[in-house]
C-alpha cells in the first residue's frame, strides 16, 4: 500500500519528510482531541456570558439554576478562591465578571450539570440585571482626551516609539495613505475544550488543547489559590491554534467547577461560543507617510498604527512592539518616526494570531510601496528591490540583521515565475464565483500584485525565552530506543515529527517516541512566534548531545564530556553493537536551552537588540476580478521564502499553504464584524473562511540560507506565509481594477463600478446604519 518513496524516508532524519507519528491516529479517528475526552460520571460545564459590551451588573440571581435537577454547581466571581483575574502580560481580565462588563461575551457565571443541555439551560435560568452603558467602540476615539476609561489608568495599553535618523527628513517624492485592517478570527476547527479532574491531594489534573502548558498552569493555579505543583496540565489533542490558544479560555472555569463539585468536569465550546471564547487579531488603523528620492531610494517613513486591543490586555503590548519594530517592512530606511499604540476599548479582546502585529503593518507598508512605485512610475518589484534590506542592514531599532536577508532574491524569484495561463474565456467555470453567476464574465479583469514581509522569530524584548527537553536512550527488547519528553504543544505544525527527526539524526537510532506534553517537565514556551522548532528543537538537540557525551564517556572516549562536542550520530560513531553494550543502563539528560538573549526597546527611541531572528517571504498574486459582481478569484500565488534549513520539507510546504490560505482569507473575506461592541457574525455561515475552491495553486521556491545563530541554521517558517500574501492579493486587485483599496478584507461592494465610496471609512459601512461610532480626529504625534 505504501509508495516506495515513502518507505525510503519512513525513518526520517533532518531534511527528510517522514510521516507524522500521529498521522495514523489522525486518519483513523483514534487521535483524542480535547473535545473527545471522557470520564464516567463526569459533569459538563457551561458559561453564562454577557450579551452587552459595556454594563454594570446590578443583580445576579442563581436560584433558578441551582434548583434545576441535574445541576451540581453554579459559580460566580465570589467563588474564585484565588486571584480573581488573569492575563498573559498583566492579570487584568476577570475569571468571572466582577460587577461590570467590558465586552460582549464576558463570562459572568458557570454551571456544572450532568448533561451538556442541562448545563446550558441552567445557565439560561441565571437572572442577571445589567445597567447598560454606551460602549467605547472606536480605538482612536479611545485615545482622545476625555474618553471614558475601560480600565482605571486610561485606555492606552502601550505606546511604542521607534526613532531613527532625522525626524524632520525631507524627500523629493512623498506619498501618504491611511489603511484599515478588520478583525480576523483564528477560527481553528476544534473549538475550545478540556477536561478537569479533581485529585486526591487537593489539586487538579487538566487535559486541554493549548499552546503553552506552563503559562496556563501558572494562571490557573493563581486563580485557584493553589501551589502550581498542584495544577498538572497535559496537552489534549489540539484542533488548530494559530494564536487563539495562547490565552486561557475554559481552563480556570473547568478547574473551578471540578474542585467545587469533586467531579471531573468537561467543557466544550460551541462554534458560536468559540467566537467569544478567544482573542482575535487586532483591527488596525494606520497612517503612513513615505518619502523617497527622485531616484527611487526611500528617505524616510513616518507612521502611526493604532491597534484595537479590545477589553483586556492579552498580548497587546507585544503586538504593538512588533507592529512598531517591523512596521516599515524589509527595507532600508535611514529616517524613521514610528508610533504604535495598543488601546483598550469595549470591543472583543485581541491578542495573538499568526503574524502577530506584522500582518497589519505589512498591509500598510506594502500598500505604500506600491503607491510610491506608481508615483515614481517605477515597476513595483524594481522599486522594492532597490530598497530591499540585506544581511548587514540596520533595522529602525538599530539592530543589525546578522544573518541572511535575501529580500531582493525572494522578490526576483516570484517575479520571474512564468505567469499562469490567461483565463479561458469560453469556460464559465473559470469565472470568479464559478458558473452560477448572473453575468458571463464580461467585466472580468486580471491583475498581478506583489508583497514581501518580515517577521521576528521567537519571543523578543529581553523575554527569557527557553525550552526544556529530556531525552532518554535505553534498550527496549534489545534494541536502542529513545524517548523525548517536552512540554511543547503539537498544534498541527508537525513538531512531534521534527523532534523525532532531530533525535534520529543526533543519536543515530531508529526507534524514537515523543511522550505526551505535560507540566511534569519544565516549560517549553509557547507554540507561537514561529519558535517551537527553533527553541524546543534546540533543547532536544542539546539533550541528545549530553546523552551522547554520557555514552562516549562510558566508552572511554577522551573527547567525551567536552561541552558542545558534536560527533556524528552515535550508531555511526560507536557502532550499533557498541551502543547496545553501552546501554546496560539507560542514558538520560534533561536540558534547558535558550536562544541568544534579546534586549528591551528603549522607551523613548525604540532602539535595542529586540529580536532573535528575522524571517522573510515574498508573494506574487494573480487575481481575476469580476467588477460587475465584486467577486475575486485568486488564480495563483507564487511565493518564495528563506527557511534557513528545511527540517521537514513537506511540513514546511504545508505551513506555507496554510499561511497563504489564512492570508487570502484576510484579504478578501474574513472579518468579525463588530458594531457598537456587538459581534454580528459569530458563525461559519457569516464569518467566511477559505474553502478548497478558494485555495489557489501555489508555486513555491524555498531557499535554505543557514542562520549561523540557529540550531541547524533553521529559520522559523510558520508565520511569514500569512503576512505578505494578503497585501499581494490586494495589490493584484488594485492592479486589475484601478481602485485604491485601503481596507481589508476587501468586500464586493468595494469593487463594483457603482460604488463611489472607497475612502477609509469602513466602520460606518460595517455598522449597517446603526450606532455609528463617533470618530474623533486624532493625531497621536501632536
Amino acid at each position: 500500500m505504501t509508495a516506495p518513496t515513502i518507505t525510503s524516508i519512513r525513518a526520517g532524519r533532518i531534511g527528510d519528510s517522514p510521516q507524522r507519528p500521529d498521522g495514523r491516529q489522525k486518519v483513523t479517528g483514534e487521535f483524542a482531541y480535547s473535545s473527545d475526552l471522557w470520564l464516567d460520571g463526569m459533569l459538563w460545564g457551561a458559561t453564562l456570558r454577557s450579551p452587552h459590551p459595556r454594563a454594570r451588573i446590578t443583580g445576579l440571581d442563581i436560584t433558578g439554576a441551582v434548583a434545576m435537577p441535574g445541576v451540581f454547581a453554579v459559580l460566580t466571581h465570589e467563588d474564585v478562591p484565588g486571584r480573581e483575574t488573569y492575563g498573559l502580560e498583566r492579570p487584568d481580565q476577570p475569571v468571572l465578571a466582577i460587577d461590570q462588563i467590558r465586552y460582549q461575551g464576558e463570562p459572568v457565571a458557570l454551571v456544572a450539570a450532568d448533561h451538556p443541555e442541562t448545563a446550558r439551560r441552567a445557565a439560561g435560568r441565571i437572572r442577571v440585571s445589567y445597567r447598560e452603558e454606551p460602549p467605547l467602540a472606536d480605538a482612536r476615539a479611545a485615545l482622545a482626551p476625555g474618553a471614558p476609561s475601560v480600565h482605571p489608568g486610561g485606555n492606552l495599553v502601550r505606546h511604542v516609539r521607534v526613532r531613527r535618523g532625522d525626524p524632520d527628513a525631507r524627500a523629493a517624492v512623498v506619498v501618504t495613505g491611511e489603511y484599515e485592517v478588520g478583525m480576523q478570527d483564528q477560527a481553528f476547527l476544534g473549538p475550545e475544550s478540556g477536561l478537569a479532574v479533581p485529585a486526591a491531594d487537593g489539586g487538579v489534573d487538566l487535559f486541554v488543547a493549548t499552546q503553552w502548558l506552563h503559562v496556563d498552569r501558572d494562571q490557573v493555579a493563581a486563580s485557584l489559590g493553589l501551589d502550581p505543583d498542584l495544577v498538572r496540565i497535559t496537552l489534549g489533542g489540539v484542533g488548530g491554534a494559530f494564536g487563539a490558544r495562547e490565552d486561557l479560555s475554559m481552563q480556570i472555569h473547568a478547574c473551578l467547577l471540578a474542585l467545587h463539585t469533586g467531579k471531573p468536569v468537561k467543557m466544550s465550546y460551541s462554534r458560536e461560543e468559540s467566537f467569544f471564547g478567544h482573542v482575535h487579531r487586532h483591527p488596525a488603523s494606520m497612517r503612513y507617510e513615505h518619502g523617497c528620492s527622485a531616484g527611487g531610494r526611500l528617505v524616510y517613513v513616518k507612521a502611526d498604527i493604532v491597534l484595537d486591543g479590545g477589553a483586556y490586555m492579552s498580548s497587546s503590548p507585544a503586538v504593538a512592539a512588533n507592529a512598531a519594530t517591523l512596521g516599515i517592512g524589509p527595507y532600508e530606511v535611514p529616517n524613521v518616526v514610528m508610533d504604535s499604540y495598543a488601546v483598550y476599548t469595549n470591543n472583543p479582546p485581541c491578542g495573538a494570531m499568526r503574524g502577530f502585529g506584522a500582518v497589519q503593518a505589512c498591509f500598510g507598508y506594502e500598500s505604500q510601496m506600491d503607491k510610491m512605485a506608481a508615483a515614481l512610475s517605477m515597476d513595483p518589484v524594481e522599486f522594492r528591490v532597490r530598497n530591499a534590506m540585506r544581511e548587514g542592514s540596520v533595522m529602525p531599532t538599530g539592530q543589525v540583521v546578522d544573518s541572511a536577508a535575501p529580500v531582493a532574491e525572494l522578490l526576483r524569484l516570484v517575479r520571474d515565475r512564468p505567469p499562469p495561463p490567461a483565463r479561458d474565456t469560453g469556460d464559465l467555470r473559470s469565472l470568479p464565483g464559478g458558473v452560477s453567476n448572473t453575468t458571463h464574465g464580461e467585466a472580468v479583469v486580471r491583475g498581478v500584485g506583489y508583497g514581501v514581509s518580515i517577521k521576528n522569530v521567537g519571543f523578543s524584548e529581553g523575554f527569557d525565552d527557553y525550552s526544556t527537553a529530556r531525552v532518554r536512550l535505553e534498550l527496549t527488547g534489545g534494541e536502542p530506543s529513545a524517548q523525548v519528553h517536552t512540554a511543547a504543544a503539537e498544534v498541527g505544525q508537525g513538531l512531534v515529527t521534527v523532534l523525532e527527526q532531530i533525535v534520529r539524526s543526533e543519536l543515530g537510532v531508529e526507534r524514537v517516541a515523543v511522550l505526551p506534553a505535560d507540566t511534569t517537565i519544565g516549560s517549553a514556551g509557547s507554540s507561537s512566534a514561529s519558535r517551537q522548532t527553533y527553541v524546543t528543537g534546540g533543547a532536544v538537540r542539546a539533550a541528545c548531545a549530553e546523552v551522547r557525551s554520557q555514552l562516549l564517556a562510558r566508552a572511554g572516549d577522551p573527547a567525551a564530556g567536552s561541552p558542545g562536542n558534536r560527533p556524528p550520530g552515535l550508531a555511526g560513531a560507536a557502532g550499533l553493537g557498541d551502543l547496545v553494550a553501552l546501554l546496560g543502563k539507560p542514558a538520560e539528560a534533561t536540558v534547558t536551552w535558550r536562544h541568544r538573549p534579546t534586549a528591551p526597546l528603549d522607551p523613548g527611541t525604540g532602539q535595542g537588540q529586540a529580536h532573535v531572528q528575522y524571517a522573510f517571504a515574498a508573494h506574487r498574486a494573480v487575481v481575476d476580478v469580476d467588477t460587475e459582481l465584486g467577486l475575486v478569484k485568486v488564480v495563483e500565488i507564487a511565493t518564495a521564502q528563506d527557511v534557513g534549513k528545511a527540517m521537514n520539507p513537506q511540513a514546511v510546504e504545508g505551513q506555507i499553504h496554510g499561511g497563504i490560505a489564512q492570508g487570502l482569507g484576510l484579504a478578501v473575506m474574513e472579518e468579525i464584524q463588530v458594531a457598537g461592541g456587538v459581534v454580528r457574525n459569530p458563525s461559519f455561515t457569516d464569518y467566511l473562511i477559505p474553502t478548497i475552491l478558494d485555495m489557489p495553486p501555489v508555486r513555491l521556491d524555498m531557499l535554505e540560507l543557514a542562520d549561523p545563530h540557529a540550531p541547524y541554521g533553521l529559520r522559523g517558517v510558520g508565520e511569514p506565509p500569512a503576512i505578505s500574501s494578503t497585501p499581494a492579493i490586494v495589490a493584484a486587485i488594485r492592479d486589475a481594477t484601478g481602485i485604491p483599496l485601503t481596507r481589508i478584507p476587501v468586500r464586493p461592494e468595494h469593487l463594483t463600478a457603482t460604488q463611489p465610496d472607497e475612502g477609509p471609512d469602513p466602520p460606518s459601512a460595517m455598522i449597517m446604519g446603526r450606532n455609528a461610532p463617533h470618530r474623533v480626529p486624532f493625531d497621536p504625534r501632536s
Binding site: F188, Q650, T691, M695
Partner: protein, 179 residues
C-alpha cells in the same frame, strides 16, 4: 419565577443503526443528532464537531453510503440506516487507500477536519453523476482536481491543507482503487 421550558419535556425513542458494520440499538432523547449519538452514546469520537450547524463538514459520515453532515441528521430520522464513520473506513489494520494517501501526501495538519474530509472523499469517489463544474453531462465525470475541489468544498480545513487534500484524493481516484 421561571416558566417551564419546552426543553424540560424529554421524549425518548429507540433507534437501531448499523454502525461500521455492527448493529446498535439504543434509547435516545428524540432531539439527539446522529453526531451526538455517535460521539456521546457510542463513544465513536472520530467524527468531529466543528460547528454543529452544517457549516464545516467536520462531522461528515456516510449514511447508506452517501455522505451527510451528522450534526444535521436527527438520529431518529435514520432508524435502520447503515452508518460508516472514520473508524469504519479501515479494514482491520489495513488503512483505506484514502487514509493512506492522506498520510503520504500530508493532507492535514491538526487533523480535526480529517475524519470529515476522509468520509466526504470516500462518498465522493463512489457517488458519480455530474457536479456544477462537469463539462460533459453524459456518464460519470473523471475526478479531475477541479471536480474534486468542487465536490469537497463543503469540508473546511482551517490549517489550509487543501493543496495536499486534492493531491491525496487525486492519487486514490486515479489509482482506480475504488470501484
Amino acid at each position: 419565577m421561571t416558566a417551564p421550558e419546552a426543553g424540560d419535556q424529554v421524549h425518548t425513542a429507540t433507534v437501531t443503526l448499523t454502525v461500521n458494520g455492527e448493529s446498535r440499538a439504543l434509547e435516545v432523547d428524540t432531539r439527539t443528532s446522529l453526531l451526538d449519538l455517535l460521539r456521546e452514546h457510542l463513544g465513536l469520537t472520530g467524527s468531529k464537531k466543528g460547528c454543529d450547524h452544517g457549516q464545516c463538514g467536520a462531522c461528515t459520515v456516510l449514511i447508506g453510503g452517501r455522505r451527510a453532515n451528522a450534526c444535521l441528521a436527527l438520529a431518529v430520522a435514520h432508524d435502520g440506516a447503515e452508518v460508516t464513520t472514520v473508524e469504519g473506513l479501515a479494514d482491520g489494520d489495513a488503512l483505506h487507500p484514502l487514509q493512506d494517501a492522506f498520510i503520504r501526501y500530508d493532507a492535514f495538519q491538526c487533523g480535526y477536519c480529517t475524519p470529515g474530509q476522509l468520509c466526504s472523499a470516500a462518498g465522493m469517489l463512489t457517488e458519480g453523476g455530474p457536479s456544477a463544474v462537469t463539462a460533459d453531462l453524459t456518464g460519470d465525470p473523471a475526478l479531475t482536481p477541479g471536480e474534486i475541489r468542487e465536490r469537497m468544498s463543503g469540508n473546511l480545513c482551517r490549517c489550509g491543507a487543501y493543496v495536499n487534500i486534492v493531491r491525496a484524493v487525486t492519487a486514490v481516484s486515479t489509482a482506480g482503487t475504488e470501484p
